[in-house]
């Protein structure tokens, strides 16, 4: 994606990195923390109908290897992004908001929590 900086003139390196970070976190939030239930029938007879993919992962066991990996990868991306954006305050604000939106739902305290009743049913 950094090659995009050579292709399209108005995309600078910091912008590209911020866009990558934001789009990655947006997609992760959508697929792991928004979409509920399963697209196919499962042997648990619909117990997971109101659970997001993150809550269903590994049957609700916290801190398994998959969960650790998926928690660490947005953080690594954030560190790289903040390096490449040269710690610019605007970029910092956008990237930090995006990172928080994807890290907070992964905490075990947020298992099954629906803030303001959004996405509850």
């Amino acid at each position: 994606m950094v090659l995009l900086t050579f292709a399209i003139p108005f995309l600078t390196v910091p912008l590209v990195w911020t866009l990558t970070n934001v789009i990655h976190n947006l997609a992760m939030y959508l697929f792991l923390h928004t979409v509920k239930g399963t697209p196919f029938e499962t042997p648990d007879q619909g117990k997971a109908r109101l659970l997001t993919h993150w809550e269903q992962m590994d049957n609700g066991i916290q801190f398994t290897s998959s969960r650790k990996f998926l928690t660490i990868s947005p953080i690594v991306l954030y560190i790289l992004t903040s390096f490449y954006t040269k710690y610019d305050p605007t970029h910092f604000f956008i990237n930090t908001c995006s990172l928080l939106s994807v890290l907070l739902p992964k905490l075990p305290q947020f298992h099954g929590v629906r803030v303001f009743g959004i996405n509850k049913y």
Partner: protein, 473 residues
Amino acid sequence: MAAGQQWVLVEMVQAFYEAPAYHLILEGILILWIVRLLFFSKTYKPHETYKLTEKEKEDLIEEWQPEPLVPPVSKDHPSLNYDVVTGPPSHKIIINGKECTNFASFNFLGLLDSDRVKDKALASLKKYGVGTCGPRGFYGTFDVHLELESRLAKFMRTEEAIIYSYGFATIASAIPAYSKRGDIIFVDEAACFSIQKGLQASRSFIKYFKHNDMEDLERLLKEQELEDQKNPRKARVTRKFIVVEGLYINTADVCPLPELVRLKYKYKVRIFLEESMSFGVLGEHGKGVTEHFGVNIDDIDLISANMENAVASIGGFCCGRSFVIDHQRLSGQGYCFSASLPPMLAAAAIEALSIMEEDPEIFSVLKRRCSQVHQALQGIPGLKLVGVPFSPALHLQLERSSGCRSSDLQLLRSIVDHCLDRHVALTVARYLEKEERFVPPPSIRVVVTVEQTDEDIQKAVSCIREAASIFLR
């Protein structure tokens, strides 16, 4: 290059040294978080169940008494002494070597013995062989299946129909295909066992209303409406169904269908109608309870019936709008995961449908016979007749029960034995008492078919009267 100018490594490292403090602190916290995740966190399950101590475990193990694998059962339990039938269960049935008039098999239209049906089945047997050896998805779909489905859809005047290979599994697969955990189903108390298994498989909330009591159903629907108003977001994703039978097999009643359709539109619930006993029996052309009441077939969301009663074949079907029935082609467990209906039986069912279409007189003959039998069985001292006059399967229950179900059953069995000795075949209605939700009272089931003559009926009634006067003082 203009873009490349921003990407010089030296400049980047310089920016690192001039970075604002809050940013570096945040990055430090994040790196510490990573270290904690990698090295200092244990996998654990939230909501851990109570852990037992060693002593408690030992106590529980010592207390446990194993139950026998096979519970002790008395030698004269009725399930251990079968009545063996040799030959076809047609109008004259041979039970235990005795030829009797059949008042017990659900052969309402006499199609079991029809020569046309047997010829078609034999031709199909020679063409296709016996079984299909595969479910519908794995080369188990034959042209006879597709023909039967389109014939059934045309007969019932719906858009589409789907065939199952086992009658019990039809409604037991159809209900869990649409109703899942979290949905609400309102069922009549007298629903048959296959409906109960379908409800159990669906994991939905089941609310029973008293048999044929529309006020009770309306009360339950009103309560549900109040709850929906309190939580409209949940109500929007909750599906609600009413499951009723056309003619109930346990009580020989008919459901009040126009009232149900009115409630359906008032409270926005879907109706599933189970027509096993009424398909091929009720209505001017045998189309079931919708024709009997003159209700528009599009008002009913799903009609399910088994072909093992009037149609004298095996299997079952569901019919309704294409939008509804197509869902069962992937979600109907009995459709996707069981072998398909043998083509011999499908051809027999097609021929039976043709006979039903060509000769609608048989339905009025059956209705006349039913009212004749209903009339004749009234007023037997000691037995009360349960059922509507146009139901082909009536129940004779004891007027005064002794309080103990097994002794009631033995009494009824002695009446049935008495009739069997006089060459009239009846049966006691049998249930899995421990598994049924609401076990119906013990009864003798009397079945009316078109093939029975007036003499047969009179003989049967006099046998029952005689037996009742002997055993039920």
